[in-house]
Protein backbone atom coordinates (compact mmCIF):
# COMPACT_ATOMS: atom_id res chain seq x y z
CA UNK A 1 0.00 0.00 0.00
CA UNK A 2 1.44 3.40 -1.02
CA UNK A 3 2.05 6.44 1.18
CA UNK A 4 -0.91 8.35 -0.29
CA UNK A 5 -3.37 5.58 0.58
CA UNK A 6 -1.99 5.34 4.11
CA UNK A 7 -2.25 9.13 4.51
CA UNK A 8 -5.90 8.93 3.43
CA UNK A 9 -6.49 6.61 6.41
CA UNK A 10 -4.28 8.46 8.91
CA UNK A 11 -5.21 12.10 8.24
CA UNK A 12 -9.01 11.99 8.78
CA UNK A 13 -8.42 9.77 11.84
CA UNK A 14 -5.94 12.35 13.17
CA UNK A 15 -8.24 15.37 12.66
CA UNK A 16 -11.40 13.62 13.91
CA UNK A 17 -9.52 12.36 16.97
CA UNK A 18 -8.08 15.80 17.70
CA UNK A 19 -11.61 17.28 17.77
CA UNK A 20 -12.94 14.56 20.06
CA UNK A 21 -9.93 14.57 22.40
CA UNK A 22 -10.19 18.37 22.82
CA UNK A 23 -13.65 17.74 24.31
CA UNK A 24 -12.42 14.86 26.50
CA UNK A 25 -9.40 16.90 27.66
CA UNK A 26 -11.71 19.66 28.93
CA UNK A 27 -13.42 17.16 31.27
CA UNK A 28 -10.15 15.51 32.37
CA UNK A 29 -8.67 18.94 33.19
CA UNK A 30 -11.75 19.85 35.21
CA UNK A 31 -11.41 16.60 37.19
CA UNK A 32 -7.65 16.97 37.66
CA UNK A 33 -7.78 20.59 38.79
CA UNK A 34 -10.60 20.04 41.30
CA UNK A 35 -9.91 16.50 42.57
CA UNK A 36 -6.27 15.66 41.81
CA UNK A 37 -4.65 13.90 38.84
CA UNK A 38 -4.35 10.25 39.93
CA UNK A 39 -8.00 9.24 39.49
CA UNK A 40 -8.53 10.89 36.06
CA UNK A 41 -5.27 9.34 34.88
CA UNK A 42 -6.50 5.84 35.80
CA UNK A 43 -9.91 6.62 34.27
CA UNK A 44 -8.29 7.77 31.01
CA UNK A 45 -6.04 4.69 30.80
CA UNK A 46 -9.01 2.36 31.44
CA UNK A 47 -11.07 4.09 28.72
CA UNK A 48 -8.17 3.97 26.24
CA UNK A 49 -7.84 0.21 26.93
CA UNK A 50 -11.61 -0.28 26.35
CA UNK A 51 -11.36 1.62 23.05
CA UNK A 52 -8.35 -0.45 21.99
CA UNK A 53 -10.35 -3.64 22.57
CA UNK A 54 -13.29 -2.25 20.52
CA UNK A 55 -11.03 -1.24 17.61
CA UNK A 56 -9.02 -4.48 17.70
CA UNK A 57 -12.03 -6.80 17.83
CA UNK A 58 -14.43 -4.95 15.48
CA UNK A 59 -11.79 -3.57 13.12
CA UNK A 60 -9.92 -6.81 12.60
CA UNK A 61 -13.18 -8.81 12.22
CA UNK A 62 -14.55 -6.40 9.62
CA UNK A 63 -11.31 -6.23 7.63
CA UNK A 64 -10.71 -10.00 7.57
CA UNK A 65 -14.23 -11.50 7.36
CA UNK A 66 -16.42 -9.23 5.19
CA UNK A 67 -15.95 -9.53 1.36
CA UNK A 68 -14.44 -6.44 -0.31
CA UNK A 69 -17.52 -5.12 -2.19
CA UNK A 70 -19.88 -5.64 0.73
CA UNK A 71 -17.31 -4.04 3.03
CA UNK A 72 -17.07 -0.92 0.84
CA UNK A 73 -20.86 -0.54 0.71
CA UNK A 74 -21.20 -1.11 4.47
CA UNK A 75 -18.40 1.29 5.42
CA UNK A 76 -19.66 3.84 2.87
CA UNK A 77 -23.13 3.75 4.42
CA UNK A 78 -21.72 4.18 7.94
CA UNK A 79 -19.45 7.03 6.83
CA UNK A 80 -22.44 8.83 5.32
CA UNK A 81 -24.56 8.43 8.45
CA UNK A 82 -21.67 9.75 10.52
CA UNK A 83 -20.19 12.38 8.17
CA UNK A 84 -23.45 14.06 7.12
CA UNK A 85 -24.41 14.39 10.79
CA UNK A 86 -21.14 16.24 11.52
CA UNK A 87 -21.55 18.37 8.39
CA UNK A 88 -25.12 19.32 9.32
CA UNK A 89 -24.15 20.29 12.86
CA UNK A 90 -21.15 22.36 11.69
CA UNK A 91 -23.30 24.23 9.14
CA UNK A 92 -25.93 24.97 11.82
CA UNK A 93 -23.14 26.33 14.05
CA UNK A 94 -21.62 28.47 11.27
CA UNK A 95 -25.07 29.96 10.62
CA UNK A 96 -25.57 30.71 14.33
CA UNK A 97 -28.62 28.43 14.59
CA UNK A 98 -26.83 26.21 17.12
CA UNK A 99 -24.35 27.70 19.61
CA UNK A 100 -20.64 27.00 19.01
CA UNK A 101 -19.06 24.39 21.29
CA UNK A 102 -17.71 26.48 24.18
CA UNK A 103 -14.91 24.58 25.96
CA UNK A 104 -14.45 27.33 28.57
CA UNK A 105 -18.13 27.22 29.59
CA UNK A 106 -18.15 23.40 29.69
CA UNK A 107 -14.97 23.44 31.79
CA UNK A 108 -16.37 25.91 34.34
CA UNK A 109 -19.67 24.00 34.57
CA UNK A 110 -17.82 20.71 35.10
CA UNK A 111 -15.54 22.25 37.77
CA UNK A 112 -18.57 23.62 39.65
CA UNK A 113 -20.36 20.24 39.54
CA UNK A 114 -17.27 18.34 40.70
CA UNK A 115 -16.63 20.79 43.55
CA UNK A 116 -20.26 20.44 44.63
CA UNK A 117 -19.83 16.67 44.93
CA UNK A 118 -17.10 17.12 47.56
CA UNK A 119 -13.85 15.18 47.92
CA UNK A 120 -12.95 12.43 50.36
CA UNK A 121 -9.52 13.09 51.81
CA UNK A 122 -8.55 9.41 51.93
CA UNK A 123 -8.84 6.50 49.52
CA UNK A 124 -9.22 6.34 45.77
CA UNK A 125 -11.38 9.05 44.13
CA UNK A 126 -13.93 6.86 42.38
CA UNK A 127 -16.01 9.79 41.08
CA UNK A 128 -12.99 11.43 39.43
CA UNK A 129 -12.00 8.17 37.74
CA UNK A 130 -15.53 7.46 36.46
CA UNK A 131 -16.04 11.00 35.11
CA UNK A 132 -12.72 10.83 33.21
CA UNK A 133 -13.41 7.25 32.02
CA UNK A 134 -16.84 8.19 30.71
CA UNK A 135 -15.59 11.36 28.95
CA UNK A 136 -12.75 9.58 27.15
CA UNK A 137 -14.91 6.56 26.29
CA UNK A 138 -17.83 8.60 24.90
CA UNK A 139 -15.67 10.95 22.83
CA UNK A 140 -13.39 8.05 21.91
CA UNK A 141 -16.27 5.97 20.51
CA UNK A 142 -16.48 8.41 17.61
CA UNK A 143 -12.71 8.11 17.15
CA UNK A 144 -12.99 4.29 17.16
CA UNK A 145 -15.68 4.52 14.52
CA UNK A 146 -13.59 6.73 12.22
CA UNK A 147 -10.53 4.50 12.72
CA UNK A 148 -12.49 1.35 11.84
CA UNK A 149 -14.11 3.01 8.79
CA UNK A 150 -10.85 4.38 7.37
CA UNK A 151 -8.96 1.25 8.35
CA UNK A 152 -11.38 -0.97 6.44
CA UNK A 153 -9.06 -0.87 3.43
CA UNK A 154 -6.84 -3.53 5.01
CA UNK A 155 -4.38 -4.16 7.82
CA UNK A 156 -1.97 -1.39 6.71
CA UNK A 157 -4.80 1.16 6.48
CA UNK A 158 -6.12 0.09 9.90
CA UNK A 159 -2.66 0.52 11.43
CA UNK A 160 -2.28 3.96 9.78
CA UNK A 161 -5.68 5.08 11.09
CA UNK A 162 -4.81 3.84 14.60
CA UNK A 163 -1.46 5.70 14.50
CA UNK A 164 -3.22 8.90 13.33
CA UNK A 165 -5.76 8.66 16.17
CA UNK A 166 -3.17 7.89 18.86
CA UNK A 167 -0.91 10.74 17.66
CA UNK A 168 -3.82 13.19 17.90
CA UNK A 169 -4.79 11.89 21.35
CA UNK A 170 -1.26 12.23 22.72
CA UNK A 171 -0.77 15.68 21.16
CA UNK A 172 -4.05 17.13 22.44
CA UNK A 173 -3.79 15.66 25.94
CA UNK A 174 -0.15 16.73 26.30
CA UNK A 175 -1.08 20.26 25.21
CA UNK A 176 -3.93 20.30 27.73
CA UNK A 177 -1.62 19.02 30.50
CA UNK A 178 1.02 21.69 29.74
CA UNK A 179 -1.43 24.60 29.47
CA UNK A 180 -3.69 23.40 32.33
CA UNK A 181 -6.54 25.16 30.51
CA UNK A 182 -9.26 24.05 28.04
CA UNK A 183 -8.02 24.17 24.45
CA UNK A 184 -10.27 27.03 23.40
CA UNK A 185 -7.89 28.09 20.62
CA UNK A 186 -8.60 24.95 18.56
CA UNK A 187 -11.01 25.76 15.67
CA UNK A 188 -13.29 22.84 16.53
CA UNK A 189 -16.15 23.73 14.21
CA UNK A 190 -13.88 24.14 11.18
CA UNK A 191 -12.23 20.80 11.93
CA UNK A 192 -15.59 19.10 12.43
CA UNK A 193 -16.85 20.66 9.20
CA UNK A 194 -13.78 19.50 7.25
CA UNK A 195 -13.91 15.96 8.60
CA UNK A 196 -17.70 15.80 8.07
CA UNK A 197 -17.32 16.82 4.40
CA UNK A 198 -14.42 14.40 3.91
CA UNK A 199 -16.24 11.46 5.52
CA UNK A 200 -19.33 12.18 3.41
CA UNK A 201 -17.27 12.32 0.19
CA UNK A 202 -15.57 9.01 1.02
CA UNK A 203 -18.95 7.57 1.97
CA UNK A 204 -20.47 8.34 -1.45
CA UNK A 205 -17.36 7.04 -3.26
CA UNK A 206 -17.15 3.77 -1.34
CA UNK A 207 -20.87 2.99 -1.27
CA UNK A 208 -21.13 3.40 -5.05
CA UNK A 209 -17.94 1.36 -5.57
CA UNK A 210 -19.42 -1.34 -3.36
CA UNK A 211 -22.35 -1.53 -5.79
CA UNK A 212 -19.91 -1.93 -8.68
CA UNK A 213 -19.97 1.70 -9.91
CA UNK A 214 -17.10 3.08 -11.97
CA UNK A 215 -15.86 6.55 -11.06
CA UNK A 216 -14.01 8.56 -13.72
CA UNK A 217 -10.38 8.92 -12.56
CA UNK A 218 -11.04 6.41 -9.76
CA UNK A 219 -10.13 7.92 -6.34
CA UNK A 220 -9.61 11.38 -7.92
CA UNK A 221 -13.41 11.55 -8.12
CA UNK A 222 -13.42 12.12 -4.37
CA UNK A 223 -12.25 15.71 -5.01
CA UNK A 224 -15.29 16.83 -7.10
CA UNK A 225 -17.59 14.92 -4.70
CA UNK A 226 -16.01 16.85 -1.82
CA UNK A 227 -16.43 20.07 -3.83
CA UNK A 228 -20.17 19.39 -4.22
CA UNK A 229 -20.58 18.88 -0.46
CA UNK A 230 -18.62 22.07 0.29
CA UNK A 231 -20.70 24.07 -2.22
CA UNK A 232 -23.95 22.67 -0.76
CA UNK A 233 -22.76 23.58 2.75
CA UNK A 234 -21.91 27.14 1.71
CA UNK A 235 -25.30 27.49 0.03
CA UNK A 236 -26.96 26.15 3.19
CA UNK A 237 -25.17 28.63 5.49
CA UNK A 238 -26.32 31.53 3.26
CA UNK A 239 -29.86 30.14 3.17
CA UNK A 240 -29.97 29.76 6.98
CA UNK A 241 -28.69 33.33 7.45
CA UNK A 242 -31.61 34.52 5.29
CA UNK A 243 -34.08 32.49 7.37
CA UNK A 244 -32.61 33.66 10.72
CA UNK A 245 -30.36 36.73 10.13
CA UNK A 246 -29.59 37.12 13.87
CA UNK A 247 -29.13 33.41 14.56
CA UNK A 248 -30.92 31.47 17.26
CA UNK A 249 -28.33 29.51 19.28
CA UNK A 250 -30.86 26.84 20.25
CA UNK A 251 -29.79 23.42 21.58
CA UNK A 252 -28.46 21.08 18.86
CA UNK A 253 -31.08 18.44 19.68
CA UNK A 254 -33.93 20.96 19.29
CA UNK A 255 -33.55 21.34 15.51
Amino acid sequence: MDIGTLAVAALPAFVASAVEFVEATTIILAVGVTRGWRAPLYGTIAAAATLAVIIASLGVTIVTVVPEHALKAFVGALLLLFGLRWLRKAVLRFAGIVALHDEERIYLKEVAELKAQGLRQTGFDRIGAIVAYKAVLLEGTEVAFVVIAFGAGGAAALNAAVVGAIAAGIMVMALGAVLRHPLTMVPENWMKFGVGALLSAFGVFWFAEGLGADWPGDALSILPILGVFLAASRLSVRMLRLILPHGAEVAARSV
Partner: protein
Protein backbone atom coordinates in the same frame (compact mmCIF):
# COMPACT_ATOMS: atom_id res chain seq x y z
CA UNK B 1 -18.10 1.01 35.77
CA UNK B 2 -19.09 -1.73 33.29
CA UNK B 3 -22.78 -0.74 33.23
CA UNK B 4 -21.73 2.91 32.78
CA UNK B 5 -19.48 1.96 29.88
CA UNK B 6 -21.95 -0.35 28.11
CA UNK B 7 -24.81 2.13 28.34
CA UNK B 8 -22.46 4.95 27.38
CA UNK B 9 -21.18 3.10 24.32
CA UNK B 10 -24.74 2.20 23.26
CA UNK B 11 -25.94 5.79 23.59
CA UNK B 12 -22.82 7.15 21.88
CA UNK B 13 -23.22 4.83 18.87
CA UNK B 14 -26.93 5.67 18.57
CA UNK B 15 -26.28 9.42 18.82
CA UNK B 16 -23.32 9.04 16.49
CA UNK B 17 -25.43 7.78 13.63
CA UNK B 18 -28.96 9.05 14.20
CA UNK B 19 -28.86 12.31 16.14
CA UNK B 20 -31.34 13.74 13.66
CA UNK B 21 -33.87 11.01 12.82
CA UNK B 22 -35.15 12.54 9.59
CA UNK B 23 -31.62 12.97 8.21
CA UNK B 24 -30.74 9.36 9.07
CA UNK B 25 -33.94 8.06 7.44
CA UNK B 26 -33.27 10.20 4.36
CA UNK B 27 -29.74 8.79 4.06
CA UNK B 28 -30.98 5.20 4.36
CA UNK B 29 -33.70 5.82 1.72
CA UNK B 30 -31.12 7.41 -0.64
CA UNK B 31 -28.82 4.41 -0.22
CA UNK B 32 -31.71 2.01 -0.86
CA UNK B 33 -32.77 3.91 -4.03
CA UNK B 34 -29.14 3.83 -5.28
CA UNK B 35 -28.87 0.12 -4.57
CA UNK B 36 -32.18 -0.57 -6.39
CA UNK B 37 -31.07 1.59 -9.34
CA UNK B 38 -27.84 -0.40 -9.61
CA UNK B 39 -29.77 -3.69 -9.64
CA UNK B 40 -32.66 -2.67 -11.93
CA UNK B 41 -30.63 -0.70 -14.48
CA UNK B 42 -27.78 -3.21 -14.56
CA UNK B 43 -24.23 -2.62 -15.76
CA UNK B 44 -25.26 0.24 -18.05
CA UNK B 45 -25.98 2.36 -14.95
CA UNK B 46 -22.65 1.82 -13.25
CA UNK B 47 -21.40 5.21 -14.44
CA UNK B 48 -24.33 7.11 -13.00
CA UNK B 49 -25.36 5.49 -9.68
CA UNK B 50 -22.63 7.28 -7.72
CA UNK B 51 -23.64 10.69 -9.08
CA UNK B 52 -27.30 9.84 -8.48
CA UNK B 53 -26.46 9.14 -4.82
CA UNK B 54 -24.48 12.41 -4.56
CA UNK B 55 -27.38 14.46 -5.98
CA UNK B 56 -29.88 12.82 -3.60
CA UNK B 57 -27.68 13.34 -0.54
CA UNK B 58 -26.77 16.98 -1.22
CA UNK B 59 -30.46 17.76 -1.85
CA UNK B 60 -31.31 15.94 1.38
CA UNK B 61 -28.77 17.95 3.41
CA UNK B 62 -29.90 21.31 1.97
CA UNK B 63 -33.62 20.57 2.57
CA UNK B 64 -32.92 19.14 6.03
CA UNK B 65 -30.99 22.28 7.01
CA UNK B 66 -33.72 24.50 5.60
CA UNK B 67 -36.26 22.63 7.75
CA UNK B 68 -33.96 22.97 10.79
CA UNK B 69 -33.68 26.74 10.21
CA UNK B 70 -37.47 27.11 9.98
CA UNK B 71 -37.93 24.99 13.10
CA UNK B 72 -35.45 27.19 15.00
CA UNK B 73 -37.27 30.33 13.81
CA UNK B 74 -40.60 28.93 15.06
CA UNK B 75 -38.94 28.02 18.36
CA UNK B 76 -37.57 31.48 19.08
CA UNK B 77 -40.70 33.30 17.91
CA UNK B 78 -43.06 31.23 20.12
Amino acid sequence: MSSVSLRGIGEAIWGLLVEDGSLAIGIVVSLAVTWLAAIVLGEGAHNVVGWLLLVMLTSLVVFNLQAAGRKARRKISS
